[in-house]
């Protein structure tokens, strides 16, 4: 696949999953097997869907703005700004209704036209501080 096609795949993935919140679409974009290096588990696809579900439940108004989409070889990366309001339980803390804005970064490997691996970090420490979550 070309670099432009790889970038387009990730952009479509972000739109389907993070904007349209279509979790059923995840399986169309993630290869089987999928390795999520930032949330290792035996079933990468299931654990990724669970992570998304956790965020979408806790922050139903969650938005992700992507910047600097780049691609080289079989890798695509982007850095992001995530905003939302905590409207349900998260990390054991009940809904605070507080808004937050945090930064994050995602790196994806593409194989056989799908996402085969992911590394991602978002500023969870700042999220905890903005929401006032202790311990």
């Amino acid at each position: 696949m070309s670099l432009d096609a790889n970038k387009q795949l990730i952009q479509e993935f972000h739109r389907a999953v993070m904007v349209e919140r279509n979790l059923d679409a995840v399986a169309q974009f993630l290869r089987d097997p999928f390795v999520d290096h930032s949330a290792p588990s035996e079933d990468g696809l299931a654990s990724y869907v669970q992570w998304l579900q956790t965020y979408l439940t806790a922050f139903p108004d969650f938005t992700v703005e992507t910047e600097d989409f780049i691609a080289e070889d079989d890798l695509v990366s982007t850095h992001l700004k995530i905003t939302g309001t905590q409207q349900a339980e998260f990390l054991g803390a009940p809904a605070t209704w507080k808004p937050f804005t945090i930064s994050g970064m995602q790196l994806y490997r593409i194989a056989d036209g799908k996402i085969s691996e992911r590394w991602g970090w978002v500023d969870v420490m700042s999220l905890r501080t903005q929401l006032g979550i202790q311990g």
């Binding site: 780049i70 691609a71 990390l91 970064m105 590394w119 991602g120």
Partner: protein
Amino acid sequence: MSVELNKLNIQRFYDEVISNGDVSVVDELMCAEFVHHGDSLFPYIGGSEAIKQGVVGVKSAYPDGHTVIEEMVADGDIVMVRLTWHGTHLGPFMGKEPSGKVHHWAGLSTYRFNNEGKIIERWANMDVMPQLMALGLIPEMKMGGG
């Protein structure tokens, strides 16, 4: 602007500045007005002078501190790096006496180059939690993944 030269300069930054502690190379690789767009664990840094001071501080606490570049993605004026950092805590750091233990963390960092091929800005999400927990600066806590 050359993508290959940008990648080479990122490799030099980590090898010569971060791993070898050679701050004399910073002016060659970075603009004086370099900005690090921080996050809560690795906060905002304004200016390449602050980078030099940071390197000296970390090197005195972790003389063998070094970065391993695991992946690089380069496109246009951007280079993104997935990296791990390791060092033995042999000097005082963040108010903690040396423990002699090996500390490590991993993260992602995105660099932008200007038209002269120098690093002008950086975004980073470095998961320094393992180091902060090992130093006893923060308690073990649940994180939500990334």
